[in-house]
């Protein structure tokens, strides 16, 4: 009997991914148009966590804003308030004491490690089978992250929305007892982070899943506004900490790890090496925090008293996800006339539209995870 196969072209199959999908790392929706296993076209939908922070900031005083902004990029809350405080200090021309600056950097760098650990842990879940069940990497990373959160709790009383930064300085002092704890943490963490880096960079399955997947060319990374590990993974030597040093970063010794190819593997390796570099900075800080005031301003009787002069200014810092900037327009009152948050995740994620077409559907999860978006930051 003749075996006949009739092939008919039904066009593309549209598959929805998200907004409730564990590997979109939050609330993000992708509409994938598939031809077999290949992705032909992508439509992305965001705004599921649009909380209108920019509108809210037009109602609140400058001094009330740092805690609100910390809820933005919730994996590294201090970098939000750090960027904002620096932007306001730039307009108002407030100098921060070296001690306060050291403490700010200390907290920011510890949170950079904890943020990258979450990125790696959830990436392990995304890759599923890799690294012995996927969940084990997640559990390892969160185990180490808890130790950092303990330090945060010790320093500020909260686990990760630290509320450490305020305009003009910091809120809490660092005691010698805490310094000793951080020194011990750094000593414990270094071999573990090295272990993770080895585990990732030498694992056969991990390499097979991530090498040559989601290659971002230098031009694409730049033109779409990519920064942080996404840009550095593609070999762009851009780090705000080095290019436009803020706080006291120019006093420390650290390297900027760079990728070569710009694939998902390179981006992960860059994150892992950044962890080690952050630990180097933490070590240099704990070696000696200079004496000084916590806040260079006198305590204010009301938050209405901070009134920057008329004008606009842009200040950016290096958050774990890239260049986080604050564009503030001041009309001379105690409330920002307009505040734009230059969110690194927003620009980084916009690469997805260009990156996914032509890849396999199984790789879409790998690519999305390697961009490490945080949706509080994307949607604001």
């Amino acid at each position: 009997m003749e075996n006949r196969v009739i092939e008919r072209d039904f066009g593309d199959l549209a598959v929805n991914m998200g907004p409730q999908h564990p590997s979109t790392h939050g609330v993000f929706r992708l509409k994938l148009y598939l031809q077999g296993e290949r992705i032909n076209k992508v439509e992305s939908f965001l705004g599921y966590l649009h909380r209108g922070v920019e509108k809210l900031s037009e109602k609140l005083d400058y001094d009330q804003l740092p805690p609100v902004l910390e809820r933005d990029d919730y994996l590294s809350p201090t970098s939000n308030s750090l960027g904002f405080c620096n932007a306001v200090e730039k307009i108002c021309d407030i100098k921060v004491s070296r001690k306060a600056s050291y403490i700010r950097v200390l907290v920011a760098e510890l949170q950079r490690i904890s943020s990258h650990l979450v990125a790696l842990g959830t990436y392990g879940l995304d890759l599923g089978g890799a690294l012995g069940g996927g969940a084990s990497l997640f559990l390892y990373c969160f185990r180490e992250r808890e130790k950092i959160l303990d330090i945060m709790e010790d320093l500020t009383g909260t686990r990760f929305h630290t509320n450490m930064n305020q305009i003009g300085g910091v809120r809490y002092d660092v005691t010698t007892e805490s310094i000793n704890k951080i020194k011990k943490l750094s000593k414990d963490l270094r071999p573990v982070l090295q272990d993770f880096a080895n585990m990732v960079s030498k694992d056969e399955i991990f390499m097979k899943r991530t090498k040559d997947i989601g290659i971002i060319s230098k031009a694409l990374a730049e033109e779409s506004g990519g920064s942080g590990p996404i840009a550095r993974g593609s070999g762009i030597n851009f780090d705000v900490r080095k290019n436009k040093p803020y706080e006291c970063y120019s006093e420390f010794n650290f390297d900027i790890p760079l990728g070569v190819k710009g694939d998902a593997y390179d981006r992960t390796i860059v994150r892992m090496e950044e962890n080690i570099q952050s630990l180097n900075i933490v070590d240099q800080i704990t070696d000696g925090i200079p004496p000084g005031d916590l806040n260079s301003r006198k305590p204010l009787k009301s938050s209405k008293l901070t009134k920057p002069p008329k004008g606009s200014s842009y200040f950016s810092i290096e958050s774990p996800r890239g260049e986080l900037g604050f564009f503030i327009v001041s009309d001379g009152t105690s409330i920002p006339y307009r505040m734009k948050i230059r969110a690194p995740s927003f620009s980084n994620l916009s690469i997805v539209d260009k990156l996914l077409p032509g890849t396999f559907i199984a790789d879409s999860v790998v690519i999305l995870g390697s961009l490490d978006p945080v949706f509080g930051d994307v949607d604001r």
């Binding site: 966590l49 809210l56 730049e222 990519g226 008329k310 606009s312 842009y314 564009f327 327009v329």
Partner: protein, 333 residues
């Protein structure tokens, strides 16, 4: 909503057999024990609280010992932990997910945003508490709640299940009949500031030629595009960077009465989303943009939120009540 968690007693009286009521009442305890000991939550995170929820599920706190394993599909789950801010765009999806879950099902609202909207409650896009969308059994306060608080909330829910008493809170019924009303253009008179931006202004017609020239000089890195609503003009601000020479160029254009500007999406890839955001929040149209749709707000949204005259507390039925309704609900509490 009410018959989802129908107790076994009701079935006993429904069967009308001699002794059925007695038999089923005593098995109910057994079933309640089984229900509370294997709560399978939907792995579903919204914002910051989801990170603490993940921490609760992982190494140190280990929720597996309470019989909880996360499920990615709502069909297999019987507990929904709403961890994070609920927005009007997400509310519909949460409702769908809740409806897809098989009964008996329970909801924990974790964190102040899910309970009341917290400091975002008067923002146009935020639902002031998830109980305006789905019924909630247990509230876990905190911003974000610590893992200990999460565990406490789950133990509290287990207690409720063990005695067979669930009386979830649900607010949306009061505004159900106004379902078809969407957000209206909700504006207020406001005194706007004169232009205070001091950096370079270029002419609107020269934008494309200027950009092409700047790009030739190596300014490839598009940092952001944004707008500011001034007294008689919207001002667009562009910031471009040159990574190799470590330089920046910032310039502005005045958007005229017609609110139309040439699009950069053909020159910079990243301008695609940036311009969509400006279109969504300010209502500036970009000529030549291929896909100029709303990006942050739902498609049927009316008005442009970041304009100065736009009221921050605009309502959006059925999930977001007006300020008046919200205050009334608060006093009735």
């Amino acid at each position: 909503m009410g018959d989802v968690n129908k107790s076994l007693k009701d079935i006993g009286s429904f069967m009308k057999l001699p002794g059925a009521n007695l038999f089923i009442t005593s098995t109910e305890q057994l079933f309640n024990w089984a229900k509370k000991s294997s709560l399978w939550p939907l792995s579903f995170g919204l914002a910051c609280c989801a990170i603490e929820m993940m921490a609760t599920f992982s190494s140190r706190y280990d929720l597996d010992r309470l019989g909880m394993i996360t499920r990615a599909s709502p069909r297999q789950a019987d507990l929904m932990i709403v961890a994070g801010t609920v927005t009007v765009k997400m509310a519909e999806r949460i409702k769908t997910l809740y409806d897809q879950m098989a009964g008996p099902k329970y909801v924990i609202a974790a964190g102040s945003c899910a309970i009341s909207g917290d400091h975002y409650r008067h923002i146009y896009s935020v639902v002031p508490g998830v109980d305006w969308v789905i019924p909630v059994d247990v509230y876990v306060p905190g911003c974000p709640p610590t893992p200990e608080a999460f565990i406490d909330g789950i133990l509290e829910l287990q207690k409720i299940i063990a005695v067979g008493k669930t009386s979830p809170t649900f607010n949306a019924s009061t505004i159900e009949n106004q379902k078809n009303l969407l957000s209206e253009v909700n504006t207020k008179p406001i005194k706007k500031s004169e232009n205070v931006i001091e950096s370079k202004f270029i002419d609107k017609d020269e934008l494309l030629s200027f950009i092409l020239q700047v790009k030739k000089e190596g300014f490839n890195y598009l940092k952001f595009i944004t707008a500011t609503d001034f007294d008689n003009n919207l001002v667009l601000t562009y910031l471009l960077g040159n990574n190799e020479q470590n330089k920046e160029v910032e310039f502005n254009i005045k958007v005229g009465e017609d609110l139309k500007v040439d699009s950069l999406s053909q020159i910079y890839v990243g301008a695609d989303w940036q311009e969509r955001e400006v279109f969504d929040l300010f209502g500036i149209t970009f000529n030549g943009h291929q896909n100029l749709k709303r990006i942050m707000m739902p498609d049927d949204w009316i008005g442009h939120p970041l304009r100065k005259e736009y009221r921050m507390d605009t309502h959006y039925y059925p999930y977001r009540p007006t300020r008046k309704e919200y205050e009334k609900w608060k006093t009735e509490l």
